[in-house]
Amino acid sequence: MNFIFHFLFNYLMIDVVLTNSWNHIILIFILSVFIDIDHVPYLIRAGKNVLKKRFGSESRTRFHEIYGLAFFSLLLCALYFFADHAIIEISAICVVMHLAIDFLTGKSAPFHPYSKNEIFLNIFPYGYKNKIIFEISSTIILGVLFWLRISPVWL
């Protein structure tokens, strides 16, 4: 999924679970998108064909899979004793949700490099055209919900 979707989804989820995401909006944005940094080398390699790429398991490092989930979970567990507990919980939701959404919507190799089995759950569309339609429409819906949530009428 695109980074705007990740940010909007995490913002709304944290707003529902912990309330008042607005105070942590920058933190949520950074934590929602930083995992996608591992796509950069792949994007550089893809060059002009970047729009045709669908960011499957070949575009990710092990930090986008269960290995990354274990790594970031242990890191957050260690930081829990030193940092604000609310910030750690927000971080946990952002990281876990990002990895879970990418697992649900794209092809992944969850136990890379220990198992090279590539899986796709067949819940959401994967064909080029259908995936673009799904991604754009879901991002717009989340954008509308985000706008409604932050507009003064609801505050």
Binding site: V17, A70, S73, A92
Partner: protein, 134 residues
């Protein structure tokens, strides 16, 4: 106990659906559990039960229709870890610590091809039921 439930399930007329879809659905119900924790404990409890039911059901269907495979095991184990991560991110201490341990155990299980993983969500269900009803 599991063998008895599986034997009972094998005689029932179950739908021949893709077990991977059910595994993915259990991640979605975990998200619904998390979303409802702030509004209604009862509804979130229902979604927690749905998550565990789907997790049990995908294995049952895979065994009944001969769809068990290494890829299926990988899908099921990965879905379970994502589901746990989502559920325990709002109940950090001590659950998220146990979840981190379970992630490591999952990696070891796949690498060594031996399954040893803690049934955290089942234990959490009992804990959550206790919070809800007492």
């Amino acid at each position: 106990m599991r063998k008895i439930i599986d034997r009972a399930g094998s005689v029932l007329p179950l739908p021949n659906v893709n077990p991977d879809v059910l595994s993915g659905m259990s991640v979605l119900t975990s998200m619904l559990f998390l979303a409802f924790t702030g509004f209604s404990m009862f509804l979130s409890f229902v979604f927690l039960i749905a998550t565990l039911f789907l997790d049990w059901f995908d294995g049952l269907i895979a065994r009944k229709y001969g769809k068990s495979s290494e890829t299926g095991y990988i899908t099921d184990t990965a879905s379970d870890r994502f589901s746990e991560g989502i559920i325990f991110s709002a109940f950090f201490f001590p659950w998220f610590y146990l979840f981190a341990l379970n992630c490591l155990l999952s990696i070891i299980s796949v690498a060594k091809k031996r399954h040893f993983i803690l049934p955290l969500r089942q234990i959490f269900l009992v804990f959550y039921a206790f919070l809800l009803f007492f």
